[in-house]
């Protein structure tokens, strides 16, 4: 009997190795709260009990090894995906996203610059290794055969029944009440909407959300469309992860935006530099649409699209990427007359290929005279985006999608920069394609085109690649370009000491002579913007730009998990090369902290022991 007990203990230890490593990685890096541990360990018990039952019922060792290796492979694959999701965009990967990318599995290695045969071979090898390990393990530790031999049949049946019953009860408990409130990862994969507003610190308490939404509804009722507004067509092009300092028109040494440069030469283009509210897509896109930083988000904000609809516009979206599956992003966009993304397009193309956008737009009818607002989303500059259709100009180039928090070494940064610049070049070509089609179909007779980004991108600076992992300048800096068709471009966009993503929607409405909803936090950039602070946050890092002295713009942030603080005088040190927090006066630090606490998301306030927050 001792061998049976020892075998059981060995099973538990072996089985829980992988979940333990996963949970350790998640909790130690603050991806998941510690309260997620126990619920997840309970969930993982279900397949273990299933496997034990299988071994009790089916005596063949090969079958048991096959079943064990299949389950372990599934578990490993899931953990890998969950970690990628948590690391890349701060959320556990959702079942919708798994299905979405799963359907495009053959195209994905190409987009990531990985050899497909190599990836398949590596996966097969890993599975064979698991199979071998399971076989070897069962040879030494399998206790089910021993039990089968030693126990009387009724006792054996009773044991098998007990294992099955406990497994069934655990499974039922999980399905009936998935522990999403405790951030158990599998439950969030299956029900991502229940955790959507909690991850990335988009934390809005129910009470706060109700208050904000009541204010939104009040503003909605009070909003009066302007009879004298100029109903020019509006096109908003959001290029995912586009940073201005890698665009030729912003003074970059490389001519990565030849098409936009031509338009600038023709006097049609105005531009401004600005900061995103965060370094992730979800809140960046909502900051653009609803003119507010993420600590001011509510459930039903008035969006740019809604304001334009009130002025008689049709509002359409044509998006590269699967926004439907991205944690309810489609729902967050609100009411639209037409919505088209890679999910709607089907699997004919890789989902992050901007030809989806070009092909859809090509199928549009000629403009029929009713004002229209179309928002485009391009993935050309994103590391997961396809660059098919534009010959790469800069070499050697390598995709850095698998690289996140690593100091550049061995020319990695140069290859990443070349890869990124090829993407910007491709984005410029796609924009040219969009404008060409719109012009040919009569939409640009009298129109306003805005080009911007949801967030920036790190290319090895400060030891980071990609986005969502910091609030460094390279991840927050975004471009804002206005193109005027049919009307002479007037009014420089230089009203703010530091422009913000939340100013985009008010600036567009001001261009059209339309009033701005009362709850919007941004301001038009044509006239002076009075603003002392500009807030931002990404995960645990939250902070502000201190604009009280325009000759000395400071940036301060605190990591609320580690309590590390950072301060940079951006006027003197725009590259954030030297943390000046030690040199800051204690009063100044207190003031910044207080500002961050006063305006920051509730979750962070709670963590910092804010007495106002229960």
């Amino acid at each position: 009997m001792n061998r049976v007990v020892r075998g059981m203990i060995a099973d538990v230890v072996a089985w829980y190795c992988m979940p333990a490593l996963f949970l350790l990685a998640c909790v130690s890096r603050s991806f998941l709260p510690a309260e997620a541990v126990v619920p997840h360990l309970r969930v993982v018990l279900v397949p273990l009990l299933g496997l034990v039952l299988f071994r009790l019922v089916v005596p063949a060792r090969l079958a048991a090894a096959l079943a064990a290796s299949a389950l372990l492979a599934l578990m490993a694959a899931y953990y890998a995906l969950a970690l990628i999701g948590l690391q890349s965009w701060g959320r556990v990967v959702s079942w919708d996203l798994i299905r979405s990318y799963g359907a495009q599995a053959p195209m994905l290695p190409d987009a990531l610059d990985i050899s497909l045969p190599l990836a398949v071979a590596a996966a097969a090898l890993a599975w064979f290794a698991l199979l071998g390990a399971a076989w070897a393990y069962l040879r030494v530790f399998d206790w089910t055969a021993l039990l089968r031999r030693s126990a009387r049949p009724p006792m054996f049946a009773l044991a098998a029944g007990a294992v099955g019953a406990v497994g069934a009860i655990e499974l039922y408990a999980f399905l009936a009440a998935p522990p999403t409130q405790k951030s158990e990862p599998l439950s969030l994969t299956l029900r991502p909407e229940e955790g959507a507003w909690d991850f990335q610190q988009h934390v809005i308490g129910r009470l706060k959300a109700a208050q904000l939404d009541a204010a939104e509804d009040e503003a909605r009722r009070a909003y009066r469309p302007a009879a004298s507004a100029e109903r020019r067509n509006v096109f908003l092009i959001v290029v995912d992860a586009l940073r201005p300092d890698h665009m030729g028109i912003y003074g970059y040494a490389r001519d990565t935006t030849p098409n936009l440069a031509r338009l600038e030469k023709a006097g049609m283009l105005r531009k401004a530099g600005m900061r995103a509210s965060c370094s992730s897509s979800f809140c960046g896109l909502l900051s653009i649409a609803a003119s507010r930083s993420l600590h001011e988000f509510s459930v039903r904000p008035i969006t740019l699209h809604e304001a334009l609809r009130r002025h008689g516009y049709r509002t359409h979206m044509i998006l590269s990427g699967d926004h439907t599956a991205f944690y309810g992003l489609r729902k967050a966009y609100g009411e639209l007359d037409e919505y088209f993304d890679a999910r709607v397009a089907g699997a004919a193309r890789y989902m992050n290929d901007d030809r989806i956008v070009l092909e859809r737009l090509a199928a549009y009818p000629r403009w029929d005279g009713q004002p229209v607002m179309i928002q485009f989303h391009l993935m050309a500059a994103h590391p997961l985006g396809s660059r098919e259709g534009t010959a790469p100009k800069y070499a050697p180039a390598a995709n850095y999608a698998m690289r996140r928090d690593a100091a550049p070494a061995g020319g990695a940064a140069e290859r990443a920069v070349n890869f990124y610049d090829n993407g910007v070049l491709h984005a410029d070509a796609v924009i040219r394609g969009i404008l060409g089609t719109l012009e040919a179909k009569g939409y640009l007779g009298n129109a306003l085109v805005a080009i911007t980004a949801d967030h920036g991108e790190a290319l090895g600076e400060h030891g980071f690649y990609q986005h969502t992992n910091s609030v460094r300048e390279e991840m927050l800096r975004i471009p804002f370009v206005l193109l005027s068709y049919g009307t002479r471009a007037a009014g420089a966009l230089d009203g703010a000491t530091l422009a913000s993503q939340v100013d985009i929607a008010p600036t567009i409405l001001a261009e059209l002579g339309m009033p701005r909803p009362a709850t919007w936090k941004g301001a038009p950039l044509h006239s002076p913007v009075a603003r002392d602070f500009l807030h931002f946050q990404e995960r645990w890092e939250m902070g502000l730009f201190d604009l009280r002295d325009p000759r000395n713009v400071w940036k301060y942030w605190i990591n609320v998990k580690t309590d590390e603080e950072y301060a940079f005088n951006l006027t003197l040190d725009p590259a954030e090369s030297r943390n000046a927090i030690g040199a800051a006066a204690p009063r100044q630090k207190r003031d910044w902290r207080r500002q961050v606490l006063a305006r920051g998301p509730l979750d962070a306030r709670r963590r910092m022991g804010d007495p106002d927050e229960p």
Partner: protein, 197 residues
């Protein structure tokens, strides 16, 4: 709506929204898929609730919808009563005889799935001919009922133009049958009122 040199007044019945106002290519493609390429779609209306769900990003359920089309070949010409009669005869040719029984589900069960079947003639005047049709869209199994779709096809001569009005509803119970009859009759009268001779 301008058809050749004639202006035709078109309006969706209460509770339905003309999808043309959205300018949505997806809805336009859906409408095109529901009618022959030889027709020009003048109006494609869906229930207000369905349109709202669509604009909010939910899948389009399309339980009830309606459409007005005109044959592209007759779009610009003025149609006389005799030409209209010929158009009606051509359009309704091959529909067969309406069943005597009013148990339409049973009748549709006897027909192959997907086959449009004439169920009743609702109206026949010189300028309006209206028929009720039905089809079994999905076979029921041992535990589920079959699913049916009812539609009315109304051919209408207004201001010298031949229009074809179609109203569709999923059939769940006799209330759907009453609804499609009443809605079609009222809609036809409303369009005639909007377009006096």
């Amino acid at each position: 709506m301008q058809l050749g040199d004639t202006r035709i007044g078109l309006d969706a019945p209460p509770g339905f929204a003309d999808t043309g106002f959205t300018g949505s290519p997806r809805l336009a493609e859906l409408a095109e898929a529901l009618t022959s390429a030889s027709n020009r779609i003048l109006l494609f209306a869906i229930a207000d609730g369905d349109l709202r769900r669509f604009t909010q990003g939910d899948p389009l359920e399309l339980r009830r919808h309606m459409m007005v089309v005109t044959p592209r070949g007759l779009e610009r010409s003025r149609v006389s009563e005799s030409e209209f009669k010929a158009f009606v005869a051509e359009s309704l040719r091959g529909l067969g005889e309406a069943p005597k029984s009013l148990d339409y589900p049973r009748h549709l069960d006897s027909r192959p799935t997907g086959t449009m079947t004439l169920l009743a003639e609702l109206r026949r005047d010189a300028d309006v001919v209206s028929v009720l049709q039905g089809t079994r869209t999905k076979d029921g199994g041992m535990f589920r009922r079959s699913e049916y779709m009812l539609s009315t096809a109304t051919l209408l001569l207004v201001r010298g133009k031949a229009l074809s009005l179609s109203v569709y509803t999923r059939y769940k119970d006799p209330a759907d049958l009453d609804w499609i009859r009443v809605t079609t009759a009222r809609w036809v009268e409303e369009l005639k009122r909007l377009n006096p001779r």
